[in-house]
Amino acid sequence: MTAETKFPVNHNDIKSFSKDREEPQWLTDLRISSLEQAETLELPKPDKTNISKWDFTKFDLNGAFSAEVSDSVKELIGEADKAQMLMAQKNGETLFQKLSAELEEKGVIFTDFQTAVKEHSDLVQKYFMQEAISTNENRLTAMHAALVNGGTFIYVPANVEVDIPIQAVYTQEGTFGLFNHVLIVAEANSSVTYIENYITEGEPTQSNANIIAEVYVHDGASVHFGAVDNLSKDITTYVNRRAHVTGRDAKVYWALGQMNDGNTVSENTTYLVGEGSYGDTKTVSIGRGKQTQNFTTNVIHFGKHSDGQILKHGVMRDEATSIFNGISKIEHGATKANGEQTERVLMLSEKARGDANPILLIDEDDVTAGHAASVGRIDPLQMFYLMSRGISRREAERLIIHGFLAPVVNELPIESVKEQLIEVIERKVL
């Protein structure tokens, strides 16, 4: 099945791209070996969604774009003086970036990927697609490594608490294929909150986004990772966010707003390696139009006393189709681990399709685990009740959708993500 795949790039393109960016040799080599892997590996196989016909090769690597900071970006980052740490990138190029001097002095690194591989080559090499994800998992991870052209590196030294959220906005425009890599390393007893937005601007054009985030959390450290994905309906997206919660009592909190309008495969995996480590995943999704999406959340327990929580709510409108997979896997030896998950799907129209699959895979006796799932349609009696007070059908639906998503949205641990999401939801349910 790989024979017909025509990549829009070849070895020479990649070599010169890497050279132009003055990348270290290890990265050039990795790109080239990954491109070879990409030519032979198969696409990922998300459970219950067939993506074999999705086109992940319809993109350019150098699309022209306007380098202005648009109003929608400004809206997302708010008052510039309030947010002290910002990154805005468009088609992989950094438009601007800000890090507080105080944190810089403490050794915090917050820079775009391109700069990071030059200035912190050893550190990036130590983590980049090592433990959390590997280049050869599937064709898309390999393509990602071969073509990475945007992203951010965040490094928080031991005992440093970054108390202001770090925010990044990644804009995709035109035919440009975005291969965005976010790498976050939180050393022992540090803490950081990172929030990212993905948006599309300009004329609607078919393209791809291939997004990978890796988060490494060491002893006693904690990372809050918030995201609002809001790419347009012409963008076919592969997004894979992984945390390697390596350290004892280390914690990761995911708050993901999965709001793309195009076909999307979204994986989110947390490896709870450290003893007493904790992973919490909360996601909200809205599907509309004719898009097909697959949202798979994995929590894999290795550490004793590790605790993994998954809560996913999704609303499907129009003719949208979505699969919500939740997998809690407890490995042998992870005694006293606890894994819990809930997936709920609300379908608003006859043609919408949704499915929730909670899966517990347990290879250890001394654990606790539980799951709940539901897939349902809007209750006509609720509609009757709301409308009997004069509320229109549309507004009643809006209230019910907000209400359905509220248990997740209200619990999101990052205030600004909550606010942004409420706005995106508002726009998507109108």
Partner: protein, 260 residues
């Protein structure tokens, strides 16, 4: 200003192809309080639900007008915005939507765009009405009817009635599940609305509530239609003697409707 009026003529309603209402008629005008009494299973809730437009109840014949307009031509929300209100016997629970957000949306739905109620005004009014009904203010932020006791749901229905100030209200068994103190509180709330601009149809199978809200007309419902009408004295006689004398008088053996 003309007084509001609800006219129902020879109404037939079916649920799942079972005919429940069999020729029901009534006229309720502003300034009037009507009571519909009747044992369980005689079609009272069916009447209330059909008039409001409940999706499961099918009007097979007859007609109803609200202020002269054909009620059955209107959507549920249009009926409400025209001034019809139903306090339901079993209101739905809506998770994730707070009582306050819901009531505010409802008030604004009844106003023109651009003329939404200000937050201050809304809060003041909500506080005032909750005070009247002796409701704890925590109810504002609780999810709509979720986990409410039977009595709390009834009070919440009346709260919506007081907030929305409809022209004609149908109260379906608003008294069941209320103790005598709560009953007095709810009655006080409803009595506050009494005026020529407000008509009310109280459905109940006890006469208890009618001690606190004096009805102008009392109707007895059996087998899906009104079988007897009178003044407040009819309710008192029902309280004292039950329904059997009416059944005897009319030769009715089974007063219920739609039972297999």
């Amino acid at each position: 200003m003309t007084r509001p009026s609800l006219k129902v003529e020879d109404l037939h309603v079916s649920i799942e192809d079972k005919e429940i209402l069999k020729g029901f008629g009534i006229e309720v005008n502003g300034g009037e309080i009507h009571a519909i009494m009747g044992p369980n299973g005689t079609g009272k809730s069916t009447l209330a639900s059909a008039l409001m437009g409940h999706p499961k109840y099918e009007v097979t014949s007859g007609n109803a007008t609200f202020n002269g307009e054909d009620l059955f031509e209107m959507e549920v929300d249009e009926r409400a915005r025209a001034g019809l209100f139903l306090a339901m016997q079993y209101p739905s629970e809506v998770s994730g939507v707070t009582n306050a957000d819901f009531v505010r949306s409802a008030i604004n739905a009844n106003r023109e765009e651009g003329d939404e109620i200000s937050l201050m005004k809304f809060i003041r009014k909500m506080d005032e009405k909750m005070n009247t009904l002796e409701m704890d203010e925590t109810f504002q932020q609780r999810y709509l009817n979720e986990g409410f006791s039977g009595g709390e749901k009834k009070r919440n229905e009346i709260l919506q009635l007081l907030m929305l100030e409809p022209k004609i209200a149908i109260l379906d068994e608003i008294d069941s599940g209320l103790d005598i103190d709560a009953l007095k509180v709810v009655a006080k709330g409803i009595n506050e609305l009494r005026s020529d601009d407000f008509g009310c149809l109280i459905i109940t199978h006890y006469q208890r509530l009618l001690n606190y809200i004096k009805p102008d007309f009392v109707h007895v419902m059996m087998q899906g239609r009104i079988v007897k009408s009178g003044g407040p004295e009819l309710a008192e006689r029902l309280e004292a003697e039950g329904y059997d004398w009416i059944k005897e008088e009319l030769g009715i053996e089974d007063e219920t409707v739609g039972q297999e």
